[in-house]
């Protein structure tokens, strides 16, 4: 929130061809850090701009819950890339840009007549980035495999890292594969930009949803080679029932176990040879957890948190999105932003995950910034813009 936060990436222009979630999360992070992001949507908007929960204003304009979550701070432009006039405008925009990013299937860009390699040859400082399921090009045997995040979650094994007790898989319930890839794409793009600041040359980043999830579950991969002894676990580490819900406890040392025992008014357990040391305790996970559950079950979640938090034992509440929107704790930390929904209202969204806060918080309705972008970026005057419109640059001319 300080003035010093303004514009870490100021002067960087991003042509954003992304859709749905993974790509838009990446470009939102770029916009949050001060880049100028021009979101290029097909006429009428991309899938996530017109699906999901829709808020409507009196004149019929809408904002989707996806857009509210992913598109703040971007300038919105519709271009019909299937029309040569639309493609020509895109090429003019790219000529002024630092970054082009997409999350199409591997063969889609080629079908539209866009070649990143050719663009980088013409503009050597350009950074290009693609996000797809396998991180492959159109010629790879896996390129035809359709890509959605749950497939990446399955292939990388993160879904079965912890199945339900009956062995069935449980949905994460949030778009893990998408947002993880979006964050990774942001990280790769800024790495290329930093190198460019020293070498003068751009580059290409390919992000695979499967690869990033595999990398984030690296401890599962190494544990498969350096395994735990069967039957051991970590005692007093997990979810415990309370009178009105659940609480999370994270005892990971003997010192914390002793403190939890104090909270439970069972100092005897801290000295008990069966539980005092983790090598003993972790062989009696069920017995230790039963003792903890008995104590938590007799109290409300709030009571357990209030009792345990001052002791330094990690403790937490299982929050829901509905509840967190009005959480004074999260609000007090500044981790929720009220942003302009583009329709004259506001919507509350999670703050930038990297801690950057430039205060630019508005979701542009689809296509709203066309005139300004053409004027500011390409110096296209209104008369020329009207001619472009007649040519179907922004979609069917009568639209």
């Amino acid at each position: 929130m300080t003035a010093g936060d303004r514009g870490l990436l100021s002067g960087i222009r991003v042509i954003d061809l992304t859709h749905i979630l993974a790509g838009p999360y990446c470009t939102m992070l770029l916009a949050d850090a001060g880049a100028e992001v021009i979101k290029v949507s097909p006429p009428g908007g991309e899938f996530s701009q017109v699906h999901g929960g829709l808020r409507r204003d009196a004149s019929g304009r809408t904002v989707s819950h996806f857009s509210a979550a992913m598109n703040r701070g971007k300038r919105s432009l519709e271009l019909d890339l299937k029309n040569p006039a639309g493609l020509a405008v895109l090429e003019r925009l790219v000529a002024t840009a630092d970054v082009v990013v997409d999350n199409f299937a591997p063969s889609s860009l080629g079908r539209m007549g866009i070649s990143y390699e050719e663009l980088r040859r013409r503009h050597p400082r350009l950074v290009t980035a693609s996000i797809n399921l396998w991180g492959v090009d159109a010629g790879d045997p896996l390129a035809k495999r359709g890509g959605v995040a749950i497939v990446a979650e399955g292939e990388s094994s993160v879904l079965l890292g912890r199945p339900r007790s009956d062995g069935t898989p449980a949905h994460f319930g949030f778009p893990l594969g998408d947002v993880a890839s979006g964050l990774a794409a942001y990280a790769a793009i800024v790495s290329h930009l930093f190198r460019r600041s020293r070498t003068g040359t751009g580059g290409h980043a390919t992000i695979s949803m499967v690869h990033i999830l595999l990398a984030m579950s690296a401890t599962n991969v190494t544990a498969a080679q350096i395994p735990y002894l069967p039957g051991t676990g970590t005692a007093a580490y997990g979810v415990f029932p309370t009178r009105d819900g659940h609480v999370v406890l994270g005892v990971n040392s003997d010192r914390l176990w002793a403190r939890l025992c104090e909270c439970m008014e069972r100092p005897d357990l801290a000295a008990d040879a069966r539980f005092a040391h983790y090598t003993e305790r972790d062989q009696r996970v069920d017995a230790a957890n039963a003792l903890v559950s008995e104590w938590t079950s007799a109290r409300t979640t709030a009571e357990v948190v209030e009792r345990v938090a001052p002791s330094g034992v990690p403790v937490g509440t299982v929050m829901s999105p509905e509840a967190i929107v009005t959480s004074p704790l999260i609000e007090g930390l500044g981790y929720l932003w009220d942003i302009d929904d583009g329709l004259g209202g506001t919507v509350r969204v999670p703050a930038n995950p990297l801690g950057f806060d430039l205060g630019d918080r508005r979701v542009s309705p689809v296509g709203e910034d066309a005139r300004a972008v053409l004027h500011d970026v390409l110096e296209v005057e209104d008369a020329q813009a009207a001619e472009l419109r007649r040519q179907g640059t922004f979609g069917p001319a009568d639209a």
Partner: protein, 416 residues
């Protein structure tokens, strides 16, 4: 024209790694911080990992691989420490703290993931370091992202608590309805990635302004952002009848597959795969809207079909149609996935004990040299020679003054 990703990848690997010449003083421990600094090392930064005498927590806890000379490698350490060099430094000793200050003077970044206030208690103040070295970037990763005087600073921090507080454990429910742990250290790893992203952004800014900044990563804030769509959905609800059918997990005869039908075209293709083309034109199922309203009925129909085939058969058959499909792999199975090896997602690296271990490669596409995992209690002399140009006498003096920990190191357990 064909897409050119493959050429792009080749070009990337031929170019110098992006962070060549950047020096990192790495005070991190366990997972979140070490994953960040491993990403920095993969991208070419020189990472000097400083551990307390005896090694940081992740070295000691959990299962260990034992080398021929008795040195050990924990599964945690193997996952997040490749490509770093390091040594034990006793920041509680005056000599150790003085040596730390000399190292800071040569560094671009100092990073930690201690609880708020822990470094200050050792006499290390980031604001002061940045005052003395204006180009220095400092970074902290903590649960709540607060300063030591905040009431939340005393709350102990593990990633699972952040996952729960940030709403990510709300959805995963066991058969009895109780919330389930995520099953892998999402909070740590994603926050390590976020820290990397923020640090490189700060490096870009420094190129322009000549000044470093402090990067403050909160696990809770980072994880909450990952759930942005559900936070906005709570305020802009969708039609409860809307939703995808044939989208989710389906039981095969020997496991589970994920299917992702999200359009009428893909539904028609799945119907063809099932040998039921009539379902694609059946007016009850033909449109997305109708299928959403009959989700359970359709999922049952699809399950009945998937249950008669093995995972392998289903993936082979459905993948060719372009319908998103994949197996739900068990963690141990990923080591045998031929795609992962062919695409370079997995790579065998030096385990620091004389063997190798297979680890996921850098997900951002950056590789630097042939990384190894620094063994616990590695010799400090080569690092100090390279980084500070110290001579053997000076290093011996520091050792005597307790900079690397208590003097009497049992023979054979430490550096020669």
């Amino acid at each position: 024209m064909e897409s050119t990703d493959r050429d792009g990848v080749a070009a990337t690997t031929a170019e110098p790694p992006p962070l060549l010449g950047i020096r990192v003083l790495d005070l991190t421990h366990i997972l979140a911080g070490p994953f960040c600094t491993q990403l920095l090392a993969d991208a070419g930064a020189e990472v000097v990992k400083i551990e307390p005498p005896g090694g940081e927590f992740s070295r000691i806890r959990g299962p260990q691989r034992r080398g021929p000379d008795g040195k050990t490698l924990s599964s945690y350490s193997a996952a997040v420490n490749r490509g770093k060099r390091g040594f034990d430094l006793d920041l509680k000793s005056r000599a150790g703290l003085a040596l730390f200050d000399r190292l800071v003077a040569t560094a671009d970044l100092v990073i930690d993931n201690f609880a708020p206030g822990a470094l200050e208690r050792l006499g290390v103040a980031y604001a002061e370091l940045r005052e003395r070295h204006p180009r220095l970037i400092t970074a902290s990763i903590t649960l709540w992202g607060v300063d030591s005087d905040h009431p939340l600073a005393r709350r102990g921090g593990v990633a699972m608590v952040a996952e729960a507080e940030a709403t990510l454990m709300h959805y995963r429910r066991d058969v009895d309805g109780s919330p389930m742990h995520i099953g892998f250290p999402l909070g740590d790893m994603s926050s390590g990635l976020a820290a990397y992203a923020a640090i490189v952004t700060a490096l870009i800014e420094r190129e322009r302004t000549g000044r470093g900044r402090h990067v403050n990563i909160s696990l809770v804030r980072n994880l909450l952002a990952m759930n942005s769509t559900n936070v906005t959905l709570a305020q802009i609800p969708s039609d409860p009848a809307a939703g995808f059918a044939a989208f989710g997990f389906f039981r095969s005869s020997d496991g589970w597959i994920a299917l992702g039908v999200n359009s009428d075209t893909l539904w028609a293709r799945l119907c063809a795969c099932m040998g039921r083309p009539e379902l694609a034109t059946d007016e009850r199922y033909a449109s997305h809207h109708e299928r959403g309203a009959r989700r359970e009925e359709i999922n049952e129909l699809v399950s009945e079909w998937t249950g008669r085939h093995t995972t392998r058969e289903l993936v082979d058959l459905v993948a060719a149609s372009g319908v998103p499909v994949g197996p739900l792999a068990q963690p141990a199975e990923v080591l045998d996935n031929p795609h992962f090896h062919r695409l370079g997602f997995l790579r065998a690296i030096d385990d620091g004990l004389g063997g190798t271990i297979t680890v996921p490669s850098n997900p951002l596409g950056f590789h630097h040299g042939s990384p190894r995992i620094p063994p616990r209690g590695e010799d400090e002399a080569p690092v100090l020679r390279d980084v500070l140009g110290l001579g053997d006498d000076e290093i011996a003096e520091l050792r005597e003054a307790g900079a690397f920990g208590p003097q009497a190191r049992p023979a054979g357990t430490g550096p020669a």
